[in-house]
């Protein structure tokens, strides 16, 4: 993987400030639950996106910049390191797991590397997962305890859920603040891939 930090340019993940794509909000749908649809349009707002279908239980919400600062400062990151996370990570909190509630039900597999983050004017890419962040965590200026907390706070890269099992964690989409994007998610039950697209998500600004 390419170096995550270009120290000469003082960028993170090679993200340049660039022009902010202005994307019109898509039609707003009330979304406390999306059932049976393959695509859903979202307003840019604070309420979590919730999906429950085909064995998947999913909850996603953007964190405000101050929530991100609060969490990472409390874990031991320096203020400048926290600002780099705020400026580049596009951090959302998530809870994802199995919607099955009987022991005999199939397992649900979620591999973040199969997901796609699609923002206007940018190449679709996968969310930034634990392995992508490891180069950052190994920097000598990052306290080891802080890096450990960051690792465990991120949603696991690839996880298989038994009935009622779930995990929580941060998803980092590697986009600048304010970017509007679509998230194409994939999950598998019994080897069958299920897909949906969540439209109109936005990084906090």
């Amino acid at each position: 993987m390419a170096a995550l930090i270009d120290s000469k340019r003082n960028t993170f993940f090679g993200l340049a400030e660039g022009r902010r794509e202005r994307v019109l909000l898509r039609s707003a749908l009330a979304l406390t639950c999306i059932a049976g649809s393959t695509s859903a349009a979202l307003p840019q707002r604070a309420e979590p996106v919730r999906i429950e279908r085909d064995g998947l239980k999913f909850e996603l919400a953007a964190l405000s910049q101050d929530q991100v600062r609060a969490f990472f400062l409390a874990r031991g990151f320096a203020a400048q390191q926290v600002e780099q996370i705020v400026e580049t990570a596009c951090l959302h909190r998530s809870a994802i797991g199995s919607a099955f509630t009987i022991a005999e039900a199939p397992e649900v597999r979620v591999a973040l590397t199969e997901w796609q983050v699609a923002a206007a004017g940018k190449e679709p890419h996968s969310p930034k997962v634990r392995e992508d962040w490891e180069t950052v965590w190994k920097r000598p200026d990052i306290p080891e305890d802080a890096a450990t907390a960051f690792y465990w706070a991120l949603f696991p890269t690839d996880q298989t859920f038994k009935p009622t099992d779930y995990n929580w964690g941060f998803l980092t989409f590697g986009l600048p603040p304010g970017t509007v994007f679509d998230l194409r998610i994939v999950w598998r039950t019994d080897g069958t891939a299920h897909r949906t697209t969540i439209e109109g998500l936005q990084c906090a600004q």
Binding site: T11, A103, W152
Partner: protein, 183 residues
Amino acid sequence: MRSVKPSLHVSRRAIVAGAGASLALQAITPAAFAANPMLMNDIANKPQGPDFTLPDLDGNEVRFSDHRGRVVLVNFWATWCPPCRTEIPSMERAWQQLRDDSIVFLAIHVGAGGDRIWEFLAEFNVTFPVLIDRSSAVSKEWKTIGLPTTYVTDGEGRKVLSAVGGREWDHPDLIARIRAVRG
């Protein structure tokens, strides 16, 4: 190119935000999973739980294999993990029901916790042993990939049940499931 230059204003705001970290944690607590039924899942082939020696909060070394012959509930958690915080009080209540059955609880805090662990445990009057896995090496050796994750091991130290994600540990179904491992 974006230049990261945190201003004094930002730093002050961040400090204030840091002081409110617990409020932020509340804001990121997943709500959609609260109504899940209380299941623990069987672990195929009952793999051996890797032995470990970890310090407790008083600095005493605690070895997993010293509990051979007893059912052990091993919980991996962290103070900053919202569902961990939610489930710990119910774990204390479960402990009060199961401790007289010679069932052992070991709550392993993943990463350094510092004073926050003491504050948290005091707030919820937690009395079962809490160990510190500062580097998270033990957590990974146990093949834990997210928090909270809980295993129940049998008298031979084999992992027989698991629960990934928070539970209400004093739910009668879970109490019965744990007792059943003892046989």
